[in-house]
Symmetry: C2
Subunit: 201 residues, 2 copies
DNA sequence: TTTCCTCGCTACAGACCTGTCTGTTGCTAG
DNA sequence: CTAGCAACAGACAGGTCTGTAGCGAGGAAA
């Protein structure tokens, strides 16, 4: 799938990071997410991306580095969506929180949803010092930080606790899709968030 | 570790399931949980258990079967603890729920806690029809079912929704230990559960 | 034209994986 | 004493894994 019909960009010229690297990362991200990181070998990645193995190892020192880059990319995508939504609810923290629960709930309910990549990789690699684990941990801390920010703007009594509760709730939604019907995730998250905010007042 | 100092049970006699099988499953469970299922090969299991590979394959047709047996075992342990706690709170659903949040929160905060084995294995194997995945899914459905049971006895308006929220919350705690301090997990769970119950009334 | 860099292709090393097979040891029952 | 069984030990087949090396093509820069 995804034929390229003859080298689109000349590529080599300007110093901008080669698109070969981008193609490898894009392909690896899809495979890693769908099939699992350990289940996908570098041979499969290079075959699917249509590149040489030497090219992969030119841009990524090891497979572990490639995995970390995958999570980094997912991290950036996630916060890009987050920021877009947040931008529509300036000066309305309650509305912003509900909006986040909305898009997260919608995403969790998608048919091909396979869980949060950060949590999946963390489950695949027990070693806390694995490069990808550090990206994952930083991502989750950032989630809690942003929720704390919203909680403070809400003016609740114990913002730190509410932020923790909301982070746990969201992580729970990420891993619970097998027992959640596609339709209910959004409402469940929104109602739960409302209840937690209410109780924190 | 766990030396046996000379064949304790005569074993061969009475039909009771050989303790060799138990030794393999016990050893594999520890390794699978700590190191991850894919990271542990059968060679390591047999070496650590001090058994022959033929013995492993006598009791478990494939490694996948061993993995499923591992989750089955964890499932039984989990409900055993659950039932013990539940037994102390007959006719007091609110107290029972708080008690569950207590021991789950305590468990999540333990230093060597490595997450819920059911969720970890689910993250390692994307194929929903994997034998171990079926055990994991059944386990999570059972969790929701038991929470629904408590919710009904609480007499709340929408017990089904509350059960889903609590299940998501618990699953979230299982995967959030990297961003939760060991001490706060218990209180966070208990307060969140109270808030959700309160809102469901 | 010559030089240099990136790329794809292929083969390889060495480790590890699952699962099978052969053969040996020791215990128990008849 | 013999037959059967459970277990151990170890080699093996066939495949996969990560990471490296050598080769030739093609384009850009000198």
């Amino acid at each position: 799938m995804q034929q390229d019909s003859g080298r689109s960009t000349p590529n080599s010229k300007a110093g901008e990071a080669t698109d070969v690297r981008e193609r490898i990362l894009e392909t690896a991200s899809g495979l890693f997410y769908r099939e699992g990181v350990r289940a996908v070998g570098v041979d499969l990645v290079v075959a699917a991306a249509g590149v040489a193995k030497t090219s992969l190892y030119r841009y990524f020192r090891t497979k572990d580095d490639l995995i970390a880059a995958f999570l980094q990319r997912e991290d950036e995508d996630f916060w890009r969506t987050w920021d877009e939504v947040a931008g529509k609810h300036r000066d309305d923290p309650a509305g912003e929180l509900q909006a986040h629960m909305d898009w997260i709930g919608e995403r969790v309910g998608r048919p091909n949803y396979r869980g949060c990549p950060q949590l999946n990789v963390a489950a695949e690699f027990p070693q806390a010092d694995h490069p990808a684990r550090q990206v994952a941990t930083a991502h989750k801390l950032e989630l809690r930080r942003r929720l704390f920010d919203i909680a403070e703007r809400l003016g609740v009594a114990r913002a730190e606790i509410l932020a923790g509760q909301l982070a746990v709730l969201i992580n729970g939604a990420f891993v619970s899709s097998p027992i959640l019907s596609a339709a209910e995730a959004k409402d469940l998250l929104q109602q739960a968030a409302r209840a937690l905010v209410q109780a924190a007042r």
